[in-house]
C-alpha cells in the first residue's frame, strides 16, 4: 500500500466517523429541539408573566410611570379591605354557578336525547354546536338586546304574562342570570357532544342486559350511563371552572360602560383587574387581584383533581370499562 492510499483511507474513515458522530447528535438532540418551541414560548409568554405578576403585586407600579417602590403586601391589604374585591369574588362565583350547574344538567339531557338511534344524526349534532362559532362578544350583544330592561323581548314576554318586568341591568341576581344565559348559550351544546361521545363509548350489552332484567330507559340512564359518565363530567366541571372564574367578555359587554354596572352589580374579578390596571392605571393592585384569583383557581383545580382521581378510580374498579371508538 502506498502512503497516498493510506492517507485517502484515513480521510474517508474520518469522514465516516464524523457522519456517525453527527448522526448520534442528531438522534440525541433532535427530540429536545422539537419540543423546545413549546417550552420557550410558554416560558416567555405564559409562565414568566404569571410569576412576574407576584413581583409587580408587591410594588407601586403605574401603567405609564412603570415600577415604583417596594411596598410589601400593601396592595393586597388595600384590595382586600376595599370591599370591591369581595363583591367581584361573589359576582364571579354567582355567575359561575348559575352558568355551570344548569349547563351541565341540560347538556347531559341533550346528550341523552342525541344518544337515541336518531335519523339525521349529524344534522342534530351540528345543530346543538351552532352557538359555539358565535364569538362571546357577539353573543353578549345579541342577548343584551333580548334582555333589554324596557323593550327587550324577554321582558315583553314576561309582561305579556301579566308580570312585572325584570330589571336585568339593575338588579344583581337578574344581571347574573342574563350573563350566565350567554355563557350557557355558547357552551351547552359543546359539552353535550362531549357527554354524547362518552355515552356512546358505554358498551351496548350493558343496556341490553338491563333491559332484559326489566329496566326502562330512565332506569338504565340513571344506573348505567350516569355512573360511567362521572369522570368525564368531572373533567368538564374542571375545565369550565378554570375558564368560568376568568369570565370577562360577557360581563364587559353587558352595558356600554363596561365597569360591571353602575354599582358593580356584575363586576367580575377579571373586570376588576381590568379596571384597576387600565382604568386606574394601578398595575400593582391589578396584579395583586390577578395573583389572588390565580391562587383561588389553583386551589379549586387541586381539589377537583383529588376528587376526580378518587371517583375515576372507584368507577374504574367497579366496572372496568375502557372507552371504545365512537360510531
Amino acid at each position: 500500500m502506498t502512503t497516498a492510499a493510506v492517507e485517502v483511507n484515513a480521510r474517508s474513515i474520518r469522514r465516516i466517523a464524523l457522519s456517525h458522530k453527527l448522526s448520534r447528535w442528531d438522534v440525541r438532540f433532535s427530540p429536545y429541539l422539537y419540543i423546545s418551541p413549546f417550552f420557550l414560548v410558554f416560558a416567555v409568554m405564559g409562565l414568566f408573566p404569571l410569576l412576574y405578576t407576584a413581583w409587580v403585586s408587591v410594588h407601586d407600579w403605574n401603567l405609564i410611570g412603570g415600577q415604583g417602590d417596594f411596598v410589601g403586601l400593601e396592595n393586597f391589604v388595600t384590595v382586600l379591605t376595599q370591599g370591591y374585591f369581595w363583591n367581584a369574588l361573589r359576582n364571579t362565583f354567582s355567575i359561575f354557578l348559575l352558568s355551570s350547574i344548569p349547563q351541565i344538567i341540560v347538556a347531559l339531557g341533550i346528550a341523552a336525547v342525541l344518544d337515541f338511534n336518531l335519523r339525521g344524526k349529524t344534522f342534530w349534532r351540528m345543530g346543538v354546536l351552532l352557538p359555539y362559532v358565535v364569538a362571546p362578544v357577539a353573543v353578549a350583544l345579541i342577548f343584551n338586546d333580548l334582555f333589554g330592561d324596557k323593550y327587550g323581548l324577554i321582558n315583553s314576554a314576561i309582561m305579556g304574562m301579566g308580570l312585572e318586568p325584570v330589571r336585568w341591568h339593575v338588579d344583581v341576581i337578574p344581571s347574573h342570570l342574563a350573563i350566565a344565559t350567554m355563557v350557557n348559550f355558547r357552551w351547552t351544546g359543546y359539552n353535550a357532544l362531549i357527554f354524547l361521545a362518552a355515552m356512546q363509548a358505554v358498551p351496548r350489552d350493558y343496556y341490553e342486559a338491563a333491559i332484559i332484567d326489566g329496566a326502562n330507559r330512565w332506569r338504565t340512564f340513571r344506573s348505567i350511563t350516569l355512573p360511567l359518565l362521572r369522570p368525564i363530567v368531572i373533567f368538564v366541571i374542571l375545565t369550565s371552572t378554570i375558564g368560568g372564574l376568568q369570565i370577562f367578555d360577557e360581563a364587559r359587554m353587558f352595558d356600554q360602560a363596561g365597569q360591571g354596572g353602575a354599582s358593580r352589580q356584575w363586576q367580575t374579578l377579571t373586570l376588576y383587574i381590568y379596571e384597576l390596571g387600565w382604568g386606574q392605571r394601578n398595575f400593582g393592585r391589578a396584579s395583586a387581584v390577578a395573583w389572588l384569583l390565580f391562587l383561588i383557581i389553583i386551589l379549586i383545580a387541586v381539589i377537583n383533581f383529588l376528587i376526580t382521581r378518587r371517583i375515576a378510580g372507584t368507577a374504574d374498579r367497579k366496572l372496568r370499562v375502557r372507552p371504545k371508538g365512537i360510531s
Binding site: 342525541l114 372564574l245 377579571t270 390565580f294
Partner: protein, 280 residues
C-alpha cells in the same frame, strides 16, 4: 353496534325525542336569527312599531353605516391574519413536539410530558399585567404581534398531537426510514407529518375558531385603530349603544365568516369534539 334488537338503544325513538331536539335547535338558532331580524330594521321604525317578526329591508344600509363608523375591513383582515398565523404556528410546533413525545426516546420525556399536561390547568390569562409590560417594552402594543406571539403554542395542541401520533404512527415505519439513513428531521417530514395530517387539520380548525372569538387580550393590547373583529364590535357598542339595529347589523357582519366555516366544516367540528372527549 350490536345485532340484537330487543328495544332500547337500537330502536327508532319516539316522536317526543324529535320534539325535544327541535326545541334545542330553535334555542341554538333563534338568537342568531334575531340578530339578523333586528339588524335589518330601520331604527326609527323599530321605535314606532315595536316588535317586528319579519326581517326588514334595511340590512345593507345598516351594514354600510357600520362599515363607515368602525374600521371593519381592518378588523376583518386582522382577524384573518391573526387566526391564520396562530393556527399555523400552533399546528407546526404542536406536531413537532407531539412527534417527539409520542415517537422519540429521550431522557426526561415522561416528566416533560406531564409538565405540558399540567400547564393546561394553568390560567396564563392572569399574567396580563406583566405581559402588557413586556409588550410595551418591545414596542408591540397596538400591533398584531402582541396578539400572535403569546398564542403561538398551546399545551392542549401538544397533548392532542402526542395522543394522536402515538396510535396513528407505527414505530416500524420510522425505524425503516431511519435504517435507510434519513436524518431525524427528514423522517419527521416524510413519515411524521403525513401521518399527523388528520389531527393537525382538526387542531388548526379549533385553534382558528378559538383565536377568532378571543376578546380579553386583544382588547387590552390592541388600539382602537387596529382591532380584531370582537374588539371592533366593542367599539361599535360604545358608539351606537341606543341604536340596536346598527349594533346587531355589525354582529351579523362579524359572525358571517365563522358561520360559513360552520356550514362547510361543522361535521368535522362535531367529530373533533367527540374524539377529543374520548381521548381526553
Amino acid at each position: 353496534m350490536s345485532k340484537t334488537i330487543i328495544g332500547g338503544h337500537d330502536r327508532r325513538p319516539a316522536l317526543w325525542v324529535y320534539g325535544v331536539l327541535i326545541a334545542v335547535l330553535l334555542g341554538s338558532a333563534f338568537p342568531i336569527w334575531w340578530s339578523y331580524l333586528i339588524g335589518s330594521q330601520d331604527a326609527s321604525a323599530l321605535n314606532q312599531n315595536g316588535m317586528m317578526w319579519i326581517p326588514g329591508g334595511n340590512f345593507i344600509a345598516n351594514a354600510a353605516t357600520v362599515i363607515d363608523s368602525i374600521p371593519f375591513w381592518t378588523a376583518l383582515g386582522n382577524s384573518i391574519i391573526v387566526s391564520s398565523a396562530v393556527s399555523l404556528s400552533v399546528v407546526m410546533f404542536s406536531t413537532l413536539a407531539g412527534y417527539a413525545f409520542a415517537k422519540l426516546k429521550f431522557r426526561g420525556r415522561e416528566g416533560l410530558l406531564i409538565f405540558v399536561i399540567a400547564t393546561m390547568a394553568v390560567p396564563t390569562q392572569l399574567g396580563v399585567v406583566p405581559l402588557f409590560i413586556v409588550m410595551a417594552k418591545l414596542g408591540w402594543t397596538g400591533s398584531l404581534w402582541a396578539v400572535i406571539a403569546p398564542a403561538m403554542v398551546t399545551a392542549f395542541g401538544v397533548f392532542w398531537m402526542t395522543q394522536y401520533l402515538r396510535d396513528a404512527l407505527p414505530d416500524e415505519l420510522i425505524e425503516a426510514v431511519r435504517m435507510d439513513g434519513a436524518s431525524m428531521i427528514l423522517s419527521f417530514w416524510h413519515i411524521g407529518l403525513p401521518a399527523a395530517r388528520p389531527a393537525a387539520a382538526m387542531l388548526a380548525l379549533f385553534t382558528f375558531i378559538g383565536t377568532w372569538t378571543n376578546f380579553f387580550w386583544p382588547f387590552i393590547v390592541l388600539g382602537p385603530g387596529n382591532p380584531t373583529l370582537p374588539v371592533a364590535l366593542q367599539q361599535l357598542q360604545a358608539a351606537f349603544y341606543v341604536d340596536y339595529s346598527l349594533v346587531l347589523a355589525g354582529v351579523v357582519l362579524s359572525i358571517i365568516p365563522l358561520i360559513l366555516v360552520f356550514i362547510f366544516l361543522g361535521k368535522q367540528l362535531v367529530a373533533g369534539i367527540m374524539q377529543g372527549a374520548v381521548k381526553g
